[in-house]
Symmetry: C2
Subunit: 351 residues, 2 copies
């Protein structure tokens, strides 16, 4: 049987052997008030560094423990948010690694940790959310890459699991999300390339259908159309994420009588394929051809001596997601909110 | 006050309102044995999919909950492992993103989840481990990038926090680790380049001192020395992780009277700098020059039409780390074990 000691600040110490030291013992030992000890544990920014050091030393010396499981059991919260780390297979979107880092940091600022899991399927993903929530192992869910037929919002609402998504509500259900306007991103890129004098274009999408791809392609198409560029001067290449095959697709379009001179792609990684094919033909990128990536992932600054790319404002995305999540978890009357952010064209050497 | 219902299988249901449904209620509702319900929750691989579906339906219908916090409080475990997600600033090592994915998967196979946190400092990292462990929020720690003066092993042992590391014990302390033999990796790369006829080399390390860098550089130096290559024919470039500066460093060495023809670098990303500089000088990579990266990160297959690189066996690394961690957590008599894995040279177009 566990012995529990509870005190007026609401902190709970648990010891399997007998009487545990209380927050009062720590306060006495450190010659501070009970409130100061509580602040060191819960709001250290309110306490001077020297005091934090002294209180921590007392906590260590006495072996005082705030048992999170006991607190969680009492409050019904875990202060943990689940996130499915995307599969590695054919993963071209290294911006999601940046997203995970920034999300971890943004959630820490509101007092939450990220719990990771993997899943091979959409069904498995939803089951895991529900099981973790049912076990009170998580308070909420963050997921990414919403699709038109996305099951997750509806299922999570039905299971009463709070969530926010990186990706819009494409279905009818209203929920809180943050998204980056990919259509606006490719529009800016195409306008930039038109201003640089390009008249023949290639859009490098992927065979994997996604609403993200559709939006970005739409931005390309509508901007070229508005500028009066004939449809025949836009080559749409759907890459398969296999380097040799993709390179042959790029090669084939360069073999045409009037090949495109401006390439806009779904990701920075895809842009690498174009860069190496252009280099192998001694076409000088930045002078005779332009290549624009998407994401401004870490490789962009290095690729081709500096890849022009469409930057996703990931830090803002994650701060907004954390804000919407906090609203939802702390204010039951809060309304669903959607935040659409504009990406930014980062012009470097390649275009 | 919370009401708790406990039953013979050791599962615990908690309800803030009154009597919670028990595992027996679920078993009765689903017309299965209590053991089968327990298996569905704890060892679903032992149960037929139809039965799992039926039991899950009963669990949902009755609102049965295995409260993880209650279980954790009772067992003193959390089934969670802490991992510090590395800072983004100047992060060239995208192999750590792969590592995190593979680690999450490997830990799931032994029944654990990864809890992420960030930290700006080594001291902050250790403090977070201790605090999470003290709160029983985690059972163990996995960390990466061990250094010679690493404080973490000693501090974690002192705090009785179980851990394993991706990176050797460089100090005197004995603990369980898995590492990749970087020295063997660059040795293999240099021997491959010597066999291809190269006689003048460049090693691209970094100004950031690390034991990982030292080991890899040692592999380059000792292999060239053993092959009788004069020390003057090895150019050591310490890149600063700033693309323009790094490119000028590479450019300067190519301006020398007898420039190197073979480049081995600390990471695939650094290799991009070399590739773009060689391309801009119309030096044909794969014919007149060779470039070898490190990691076989996702970019390697795309860069330069296929970057030759030294692959780290990340899946094996994470499975071994999970095995060593499980030993430590389940068998108090288990001894510290170190596992050193050989990387593999993946030969593609660039060398």
């Amino acid at each position: 049987m566990l012995l529990e000691t509870k005190n007026s600040t609401g902190l709970l110490g648990v010891s399997p052997t007998g009487i545990a030291p209380t927050i009062d013992d720590v306060a006495l030992h450190a010659s501070v008030s009970r409130q100061t000890v509580s602040n060191v544990l819960n709001a250290p920014d309110r306490v001077r560094p020297e005091t934090i050091q002294r209180v921590r030393l007392s906590i260590d010396t006495l072996g005082y423990r705030v048992n999170r499981n006991a607190r969680n059991l009492r409050t019904g919260t875990s202060k943990v948010v689940a996130y499915r780390i995307p599969p590695l297979a054919g993963r071209l979107n290294s911006v999601m690694d940046t997203f995970l880092h920034e999300m971890t940091e943004a959630l820490e600022l509101i007092g939450y940790h990220v719990l990771l899991f993997t899943s091979d399927s959409a069904t498995g993903e939803i089951d895991t959310y529900r099981e973790l929530a049912a076990q009170s192992a998580i308070d909420a869910v963050i997921f990414a890459g919403t699709e038109r037929q996305d099951q997750r919002p509806e299922r999570l609402v039905a299971s009463r699991v709070p969530f926010v998504s990186f990706g819009r509500t494409w279905g009818s259900l209203n929920h809180s999300w943050v998204d980056v306007d990919g259509r606006a991103g490719t529009r800016t890129a195409i306008n930039h390339l038109l201003a640089s004098g390009h008249r023949r274009f290639a859009w490098l999408g992927s065979t994997t259908g996604s609403v993200v791809k559709d939006e970005r392609e739409l931005g390309v198409r509508e901007t070229l159309q508005a500028a009066g560029v004939p449809a025949a001067d836009l080559h749409v290449l759907n890459l398969v994420d296999e380097p040799n095959t993709d390179r042959r697709l790029v090669s084939a379009v360069l073999d045409l009588p009037n090949p495109p001179t401006a390439f806009v792609s779904m990701s920075d990684l895809q842009a690498l394929t174009v860069l190496s094919e252009l280099d192998s033909r001694s076409i000088v990128v930045g002078r005779d051809a332009a290549v624009v990536g998407f994401d401004d992932s870490p490789i962009a600054a290095y690729a081709g001596g500096g890849l022009t790319t469409i930057r996703q404002p990931i830090t803002t995305v994650t701060r907004e997601l954390a804000r919407l999540l906090k609203n939802q978890l702390t204010d039951p009357s809060s309304k669903p909110e959607g935040v659409l952010l504009e990406p930014e064209l980062i012009v470097r050497r390649t275009g």
